[in-house]
Subunit: 228 residues, 2 copies
DNA sequence: TAAATGATGTTGACAACGCCCACTTAATGG
DNA sequence: CCATTAAGTGGGCGTTGTCAACATCATTTA
């Protein structure tokens, strides 16, 4: 009975789980306000700690946002994996993956902007490691869905063919990404027709994909590079 | 000779052209720093006026950024119009337009993020009028390039067909937009292969477009709505 | 077991920011 | 010619990101 927290609502000197709480609160605030312009001090307030406590866990705001972005990538990857797990047809798998991607962006545009936008890449430095690897894992799902999907089965594993597959990935990802951002940023609408709209466009995309695979120059990487 | 500015480098009390200078400086700073996180005070400093002078021309930072965004749309529209003006083939016109679009984004990602991203739409309010109309004008170019281009010539002007054309616009714009942002945000690369890469993907896009036109639900608008 | 260490949290400070106010300047038009 | 008003100034308020110095406490080590 030495530590009685309940009577005066007083927290022990050390929070115990601040890192996690700060990141989660940041994700909440970001999702609600749809903006990355919240302050570290507010997160600290919500967590009931002093305005400087977060700096013991994150060097600066950028590093915090990188952690949030990484979580965003993990969430997206999980949703994409779940969406495709019970499907056999490569085409259905691709469609389901695209749906998950688009849905995530429409549901939380600010998070997608943080993840894919340039804030974290800013100032010439490269993206923080933590979110770069998370992004890489997410990208791997797209790549594999295309590679051992509709195309892979009828294409031998020769070097010009891998470039063609990279081309397909690029086209598919471009389309999915563009549709997502157009919808998320409300450049097409209206909001209550989004789902139907996305579904139609998605099917058209998949239809056209087969007939429109460009080869891609050598040395091109798809997704953020792990090194550099 | 009453107003001798040269001797003491002193500006007359009234600047005379502050509005324009502020917007232009903002565009410069945005382009160089690739960030919208510059301060109004710095713009004022660069213009040689007090930290409050800009507030006589812009209610707040958001309004300034809206003006910058509008200029971005005007620049883009001008480049797209120039790129297509000397071409006859609809396909070539589409390709040229897409090149201009992609090039603009790769050259100045932060400007594209401002233009297309959600900063200006933020907080439930609608986008500022000035940039909404500029965006609308730019969008009109895309629409017309598709409508009286490859599709329009062989499609009668019936209601289901206009929906099909809207579908084509959507697919094309999605692809172009997605490719642009993927390149601009360095999710694919490397930088020195971008041009070649974009060209290949673009051609693939155009190839596939013909074979993959979804119809789009009724009531869908493409581009930011002029009202509301 | 006692003391040193390092991780975590606190307090206080600083410069910079967005934005508000009251004031000044100078151009305009009735 | 003078009143109105757009445009610029200076000071100030509350907030922010970040730094430095100090406090607390669990863990290791002597």
């Amino acid at each position: 009975m030495t530590k009685d927290i309940s009577t005066k609502e007083q927290r022990p000197y050390h929070h115990g789980d601040l890192h996690r709480v700060i990141v989660e609160t940041a994700l909440d605030v970001l999702s609600e306000s749809q903006s990355t312009e919240f302050s570290l001090r507010e997160l600290a307030r919500r967590a009931g700690v002093s305005h400087n406590a977060p700096y013991k866990h994150f060097a600066d705001k950028r590093e915090l946002l990188a952690a949030v972005s990484a979580i965003g990538f993990e969430l997206l990857a999980k949703r994409m994996a779940e969406a495709t797990s019970k499907l056999d047809s490569p085409r259905q798998r691709l469609a389901a993956m695209a749906r998950a991607y688009v849905f995530g962006g429409v549901t939380n545009p600010a998070l997608y902007r943080l993840m894919f936008g340039g804030y974290l890449a800013g100032q010439g430095e490269s993206r923080p490691v933590i979110e770069r690897t998370a992004a890489y894992d997410m990208k791997a799902l797209i790549v594999s869905a295309i590679s051992d999907g509709a195309l892979g089965r009828e294409i031998a594993d020769t070097e010009p063919n891998t470039r063609t597959i990279d081309g397909a990935i690029l086209v598919f990802w471009s389309q999915m990404h563009g549709l997502t951002l157009l919808l998320a940023d409300r450049l097409v609408g209206p909001a209550d027709k989004m789902e139907e709209l996305a579904e139609n466009v998605l099917q058209g995309m998949l239809e056209g994909l087969v007939n429109s695979i460009p080869a891609v120059p050598e040395g091109v990487w798809v997704g953020p590079p792990l090194e550099g």
